[in-house]
């Protein structure tokens, strides 16, 4: 077997951190994405503008720059706000922006913009006759969303969501730059200590490929579920 020179357990811990960051930022991104899509589809002009500004800015600036900005600037910004709260209202809170929070928030924000575009397209792809039928049955708009709009929207959104998730997973490697001990950082530390780059980088690359393969399988299963009634999903699988 490969001798990882004692770094094996730490690499696994790092892999766990990578997965944690990826899953948490995915959740944030999904919430932000749904909000952005609703804002973009709403008739409210201001909401529409804000959502457009958000997606444009996020997609025009490198992820690393945003992450560094949030990591180094975030604490200052938050401190300024909490200080103000303290002096104005005597509310004493302390929020700590560590590298984990900065990483998850940045990645969540970045992919919220991409998810927003995916969701928007998917909402538009739902046949409006379906919504009318729901209304004709006397369903409330919340019930229509839950029973008709959301399940059918997901069918169109899943391929895009799957792609976004794959890119997001790779983006988590950036948290190693701001000092979070994910598997990339641990592999880099091990490399510097032992001068054996391939010994540590290749296993990390393999773990990324493994996670990607597992999620591909998961997305395919979800796809099957949301495609019930629409025949095989072969148009997406090419």
């Amino acid at each position: 077997m490969i001798d990882l020179q004692g770094y094996g357990p730490r690499l696994l811990e790092g892999a766990l951190v990578t997965v944690e960051v990826a899953v948490l930022s995915l959740l944030l991104a999904l919430v932000l994405g749904l909000l952005t899509a609703s804002a973009k589809l709403s008739r409210h002009r201001l909401l529409h503008r804000i959502a457009t500004l958000y997606t444009t800015l996020i997609r025009g600036v490198p992820d690393l720059v945003l992450m560094l900005l949030l990591f180094f600037g975030g604490q200052m910004g938050v401190n300024a706000i909490t200080d103000w709260l303290y002096y104005q209202f005597d509310v004493d809170i302390f929020i700590n922006i560590n590298e984990f929070v900065a990483g998850v928030v940045t990645i969540g924000f970045i992919f919220g913009a991409y998810m927003g575009e995916t969701f928007r397209g998917a909402f538009l792809a739902v046949d409006s006759g379906q919504l009318e039928a729901g209304r004709a049955y006397g369903m409330s708009s919340r019930l229509i969303f839950r029973r008709i709009q959301f399940p059918q929207m997901m069918r169109h959104a899943l391929p895009g969501l799957g792609n976004n998730w794959m890119v997001l997973l790779k983006t988590t490697a950036l948290v190693s730059v701001i000092g979070l001990s994910d598997m990339v950082r641990i592999a880099a530390e091990a490399t510097k200590a032992t001068h054996e780059p391939f010994l540590f980088m290749i296993p990390v690359a393999v773990i990324y490929l493994l996670i990607a393969s597992v999620s591909e399988w998961g997305v395919a299963r979800l796809q099957k579920r949301y495609n019930v009634g629409f025949g095989e999903a072969d148009e997406w699988n090419n």
Binding site: P62, L69, T172, M201
Partner: protein, 243 residues
């Protein structure tokens, strides 16, 4: 010129951070970023065309290695690839004593290799998809004219595939510009590297990073408009007549 200089100095007079000196760092960084991205895109493009043709080959021993290459390079973070090539070169026994070290001690070349291999993998897949989408009629027509496979590739398939690939390739160019920010991790003074330097020197994260974000935003829009212009020119025949 002198007037301009005086105007410039006056403009920056009551600004502690953005002195002519720091702006110089940003300018150098801009140069490095543009050089790195441009070179890797051009070399990557040249590599991607034959690879995309090979990717669509019917022979398994040609097709599978290319597929494996694109799968690995698209499935793993660029940062890992960069580390592997950067440290892989630096830690080769005895390389620091050879003449090659003069070139290789600068992180620019390992970064260039990593970026080139990465963008070549993505571009290969983009072109492969575009080649696969060539309509059957075009190929049949070429065959009916008695064209050889090479001629057909050169005259019929590739020109139309390039056009079809244009929007996706534009995204790849922007992606590459943004991905190049990680060059700063291996000590390269690109735009992000300059921002990190200015941040460290003045402890002013907002000024340093927002300024560089604005530069990236401008570059992104420039690329976006360039590709929109190219699409309008090259894809004009696909537009609806009354559009």
């Amino acid at each position: 010129m002198e007037q301009l200089n005086a105007w410039f100095t006056e403009l920056l007079a009551d600004n502690a951070i953005f002195t002519a000196n720091t702006l110089g760092y940003y300018l150098d960084g801009l140069g490095n970023t543009v050089r790195l991205v441009f070179l890797s895109l051009v070399i990557g493009l040249l590599l991607a065309v034959p690879l995309a043709i090979a990717r669509g080959s019917r022979r398994k021993w040609i097709k599978w290695p290319v597929f494996f290459y694109t799968y690995v390079f698209r499935g793993t973070p660029l940062l890992i690839q960069l580390y592997m090539i950067y440290y892989g070169v630096v830690f080769i026994e005895g390389i620091q004593d050879t003449i090659l070290w003069v070139v290789l001690k600068d992180a620019f070349f390992p970064a260039l290799i990593a970026f080139t291999l990465n963008t070549a993998a993505y571009t290969t897949e983009i072109f492969h998809g575009a080649i696969k989408a060539t309509s059957r009629g075009e190929i049949e027509a070429a065959r009916a004219y008695g064209m050889s496979r090479g001629l057909m590739m050169r005259r019929i398939i590739l020109p139309s595939a390039f056009r079809r690939a244009l929007p996706a390739y534009g995204n790849e160019v922007i992606f590459m510009l943004h991905a190049s920010a990680i060059a700063s991790v291996v000590t390269i003074m690109d735009l992000t590297g300059a921002a990190r330097f200015v941040y460290a020197r003045f402890y002013a994260p907002f000024d340093a990073f927002l300024f560089v974000a604005a530069i990236y935003l401008c570059l992104t829009f420039a690329i976006l408009y360039l590709f929109r212009y190219l699409e309008k020119k090259l894809l004009a025949h696909l537009k609806p007549i009354n559009g």
